[in-house]
Subunit: 133 residues, 2 copies
DNA sequence: CTGTATCCACTACGATACTG
DNA sequence: CAGTATCGTAGTGGATACAG
């Protein structure tokens, strides 16, 4: 192994999210961010228009959805298809890379959803045993 | 299929992150949050002490690491083992559920790291074609 | 319909100092 | 070492109005 760090099975990739200045950390934040994760998750089911997304991602504001989509498009994870019609129609869909990211995200999301019973139980235990804190 | 929504392969789970008020969304945010994801990722390599984590998760402040760990412990994803010695020694490690979450997170992180070349290229293209914007 | 622009509240976060 | 407490700031994010 030609690596100089002490962490076990680590590839010698040029990008490391654990490093403060690594650009991959920024992209990871776009992907896992509050609205990024839900947006990618929604688009995993298929192409959607702006307001369809807005309804699907319950609670997102126009501004944040717009910002989120721009960041994801810039990172090459989402493709924006604008039709020059009137009224305008814009469809968003995942790129091939975006689809792979979304697949992994969905796996995480569904696992968390499936274990919420345990999580809620753990919280009760925590709050009870530690009382007021 | 006994489902009444229009989304394809969806299980009839009681929890749905896409719903604004669902507690699973809060947990997902703990997990995918800026420091939550990196903390779980670091712990996936093995048990770590507070300051070891602090060094591994480059850039995290004491305060944020402390908050992050408390949230993850409360959700039952991280176990905190405090030794009543002097000086104190506290080890953090993943719970079984935490380990499964971290595995999925790692898969996402490594994929993103591996595709940063494409991401960076996509950004260049975006910034060039849209010029100043 | 698909956004952008503006304003404002809140809170997440970092720096620092301090405690057990 | 392992945190907690306090404070100040910068940015997140919502509401609203408006533009193409």
């Amino acid at each position: 192994m030609s690596t100089m760090h002490e962490h076990a099975e680590e590839k010698d990739l040029p990008f490391d999210v654990f490093a403060r200045a690594c650009p991959s950390r920024v992209t990871l934040e776009h992907v896992t961010g509050r609205w990024g994760a839900l947006t990618l998750g929604a688009l995993h089911e298929g192409s959607l228009r702006f307001n369809e997304l807005r309804r699907r991602v319950d609670g997102v504001s126009e501004k944040m959805l717009s910002q989120t989509l721009q960041a994801l498009e810039r990172d090459g994870l989402v493709h924006r298809e604008a039709q020059p019609t009137n009224p305008p129609r814009v469809d968003y869909e995942l790129t091939p890379i975006g689809r792979e990211v979304a697949t992994r995200l969905i796996s995480l999301i569904q696992f968390v959803e499936g274990r919420m019973g345990d999580v809620l139980a753990a919280r009760e235990r925590y709050d009870t045993t530690r009382g007021a804190r």
